[in-house]
Each structure stands twice: as C-alpha cells, then as structure tokens.
C-alpha cells in the first residue's frame, strides 16, 4: 500500500515528463519530414522576401533587409510552431485520439498532461528557432555571434508564451475549423503589427500603442537587437511579458480544459 510520503509528492513535480516523452517519441518517428517543414517554410519566407523585397529596398534601419527580416522570421517561426502544436496536434490528442483521457486514468492528472503539452510545444518551437538560427549563422546575418546565443532563451520564452496561449484556445475549440479564427484574428494581426516584415516606427501613436501589447512584439523587441548586435532595451520587461502571457494562457487552459473534460 502506498502512503502519502514526501518522496512521492516530490516525484509529482516531474509527473509531466512521461507526457512530454510520449510526444517526443511520436515526433521522433517522423522527425525527418518534420524538421524539413520547420526549416523549409520560414527559409522560403526569409530568402524569398529577403532577396526579392530586399532588392527593392534601401537598408532598413541601417542594415540589409535580410538581416532585418531574420529576427522577425525567427520569432514568427517559433510562434507558429508552438501554436500549431498546441492547436492542431494537441487537439487531435485531446479530442480525436482520446490520448489525454487515457492518461487521466493513470496516476497523472490534467495539470501533468497540460504541463507535458506546454513543455513539449515549447521544446518543439525551440527546435524551429534553432533551425532559423542555423540559417542566420550560415548566411552570416548577425553582428555579434555571442549575442545570437541569447536568441535561444528568447525562443524558449516565445515558444512558452504561444504554447500557453494555444492551449487555452484548444480548450474551448469545438473542432479544427475553430483554429482558423485564432489564426485570422490573433496570429495574422500580430504578424502584421508586431514588426515581422517591417519596422513599426512609422505607426501612428494609437497603432503603436496597440502593437506594444502584442506578445509577438515583445518577442521581436528581444530578437531584433540581438541579431543586430545590441542588447535589447527593456529586456526584462519583454521577457516578463512573454512569461506572463504564457502563464496566463496556461492557467486559463487548465481551468477551461478541466471544464471540458472533467465535469
């Protein structure tokens, strides 16, 4: 018979790990195509826009357009990866395959499942970030190599943020089609207002004020200076904002998913 001793409660802290590992093992089976997808899509964006549009543009903020675009692509790619994983993939595990229901019958609870999903989506999006970073390194789109290493924790924070937000959307989604609303109403506006493709310095004050609140803006405010060879201004604030968005999303996801599955 088991007793509620401290050792067991201590183990609880890592309860999410088997869930993370389950997703990792499935991913590993298809890692090749998945990695290719991680790389190909953002690379085409970056190279197509960078060289295509870049040829028409003078330097942006004193750097070639491709260098400017690199930070946006990195943040965008990490955001997309975390969002897809916590929306489409998590939804099929939750709703279609009933994987979460199966896990909930074991000693794990919903928090463990959602933490596993949160950390998994964060890990996977970090991988997307690393893929872009490799391109940045290979093409030499940076000023200071050491500073580009700081992009790794930035990718983790960005992934965490959008994984948390994605899980909360997943919790209330009736079907796959619903995610289109999230992409049209949240992700796309963020891409357009967050400064992925162009600097937002020319925005009128009201639009700039809106943009300043967007999670993706915080990610880009961190990533862009790092690529351009400077420490970001208000670094802690941006990092805290990403963390806060992610945690708020996760807390909402936990409550909403509990309502959905366990009532």
């Amino acid at each position: 018979m088991y007793t509620l001793d401290s050792r067991l409660r201590g183990n609880d802290v890592m309860n999410w790990f088997p869930v993370w590992r389950r997703n990792f093992l499935v991913w590993k089976k298809l890692a090749g195509p998945s990695l290719l997808g991680n790389l190909a899509d953002p690379m085409l964006y970056m190279l197509g826009l960078g060289y295509g549009l870049g040829a028409l543009l003078p330097d942006v903020g004193g750097v070639p357009y491709l260098n400017f675009l690199a930070a946006g692509t990195l943040a965008y790619s990490v955001m997309n990866s975390a969002s897809f994983e916590t929306l489409y993939s998590a939804f099929s595990r939750m709703h279609v395959q009933k994987t979460w229901d199966a896990i909930l019958n074991t000693p794990l609870d919903l928090r463990d499942v959602l933490l596993g999903e949160l950390f998994w989506a964060t890990s996977k999006s970090l991988l997307s970030g690393i893929a872009i970073l490799l391109v940045i390194w290979v093409l030499g789109l940076y000023e200071d190599f050491a500073l580009t290493l700081v992009l790794l924790p930035v990718a983790v924070l960005t992934g965490f943020c959008f994984a948390g937000l994605g899980l909360s959307i997943n919790a209330v989604s009736p079907n796959y089609d619903f995610f289109l609303y999230y992409f049209t109403l949240a992700i796309t506006p963020m891409v357009l207002l967050g400064g992925v493709f162009y600097p937002t310095t020319a925005f009128p004050a009201w639009l700039a004020a809106v943009a300043a609140w967007l999670p993706l803006t915080h990610a880009i405010e961190l990533a862009r200076p790092l690529i351009l060879g400077q420490w970001p201004q208000g670094m802690l604030l941006h990092a805290a904002a990403l963390l806060a968005y992610g945690m708020a999303g996760f807390v909402a996801a936990l409550g909403l998913t509990r309502k959905r599955l366990l009532r």
């Binding site: 088991y2 590992r21 395959q97």
Partner: protein, 302 residues
Amino acid sequence: MSPLSLRGLTKSYGGQRVVDGFDLELEPGRCHGLLGPNGAGKTTTLRLALGLIEADAGTLELLGHALPAEAKLARRRVGVVPQVDSLDPDFTVAENLQTYGRYFGLSAKTIAERIPALLDFAGLAGKADAPILTLSGGMKRRLTLARALVNDPDLVILDEPTTGLDPQARHLIWQGLRRLIAQGKTLLLTTHFMDEAERLCDVISVIDHGRVIARGSPRELIAGHIEPHVVEVFGEGLDEWKACVSGLCRRCEQAGETLFCYTDDPEKVVAELEAAPGLRYLHRPANLEDVFLKITGRDLRD
C-alpha cells in the same frame, strides 16, 4: 478493506440527477457488474469512482484512499479499460504498453519485463511490433485490457469491455477476465450484455436513472424478480390467443410481434399452444434479460 466503496453518491448534469444516491461496496477478489440501459449513469459512476470528476454529494474510498483528495495515489493500483478506445495510433503494440507504463512511474526495465506476459495474456504474442492500425477491433480491445494491467493493479475497472466485438472476440476477453478473477483481482465492469454479466459477475447491480434498482448474484436476481419459465409466442392469430391465455400465466408482455408469457407452470401454456396450429413458440428458462426488461421496462432510452 473494500477496494471501492461508494456511499450516497450523487451527480447532476444540468439539473438532471445522473447518479442518484448510489451505494456500492466491492468485495475483494470478486467481479461486480453494473448493468443498465444507455444513459443509466454507468460511465459517470466509474468516472466518479476514479476521482476524475467530483460528486455533488457522497463519500468515496478507492483502495483505502479518500477521493477525490488522494485520487492520484489510489489510481496507481487501478487499471482502466475505457468505453472508447484510446490506444496511441502512432505507436506499435509494445510501444503503447511502454508509454502507458511510464505514466505509472514504472521503469523501462520493469515494463519491458512485463510486456511478454501481457501480450501472451491478450493473445497478442508475436504482435509486439505491429502498428495499431493493423489490429482488428478484438485485438485492440485486448490490447487495451493488457494496457490496463501494465501496473499490475489490484482493481480493474472495465467500461463495456466487449461492446462492438464478435462472439469469438468476446469469448477471448471473457477468458482473460476470468483469469484475472482467478488471480485474485477485483473487477468492476459495466455491460449491456446479460450473458456477459451472467457469466462473469458474482454480484450484479442493475442501475437505472443513476439508482440501483436491484442487486444480487445472477441466480438471486432471477429467482427473486421473475417467474422461472418463459414461453415466447409469435405467429398468426396471436391477438385472439392472447385473450384466452392470460389466466394460464402470471404475467404476459407483448413486445412487437412476440408475446412473453411468464409462468411457474409452462406445461399448461404449452398444451394450450399445441392446440393453436398457426402459432409458434419457444419455451426456455427465465434469464437475466427477462429480469432486466421487467425492472427497467421495454421502452427505448434514446
């Protein structure tokens, strides 16, 4: 200690009492069946018993742990076969067992050692590396049963383990469940199949609208609730015959084209039927299904 004890369990959805003052005390090493029509509250009761959802009222104890507070702890010693299949389609048979075992905190070594016996038990020896997509419905169900045993549970909870399976597949599952009972495990299963309940269960609770309306061993239920013989009558001229036979049996019930005559004295009914050449009949001992239909009624539930 009772592996599972539920007292005064109540749960409502949208003002509707789905589980309504439910009491249950499992005996160790026995198989207990929950028998009830669609929507009777069987799955909801099991979810409550696992500490997955919170009851509106009542007390629950699972393997000595109070629920829902210690649910995670209690579930370490429980195996669950859910009503809906939830195998991992991306994994092979063995990978499904490995992954599931890790949710219980078992080491890879422990799980690997258990897998051959589990596959043997489920009649899936040699299928360790088969993808889930290649398994038949019966194999998937058996794998789900094996998965529920990966933590060597004391109590196994099965929600309609054989629904949707062909007779051969059902017999294989029953064989497995009888072996578990012989090993001393406690079973709690829900089913719509009377023969399944009759074959496997030491105690059956017939539930409807979230309440236990009859409880006992299959024999006790039959002896206590129904006349020992049934003559089913069908064919031409049933309506005229029905009018004159009612004195011969204790109870007559018509369902569609068939008249069910419940009686202590079947000879008289049969003699009467011999004189009615247009009619055909079937004389048989009463079974659990007759009890079930008598106490839950013949109306369709959904």
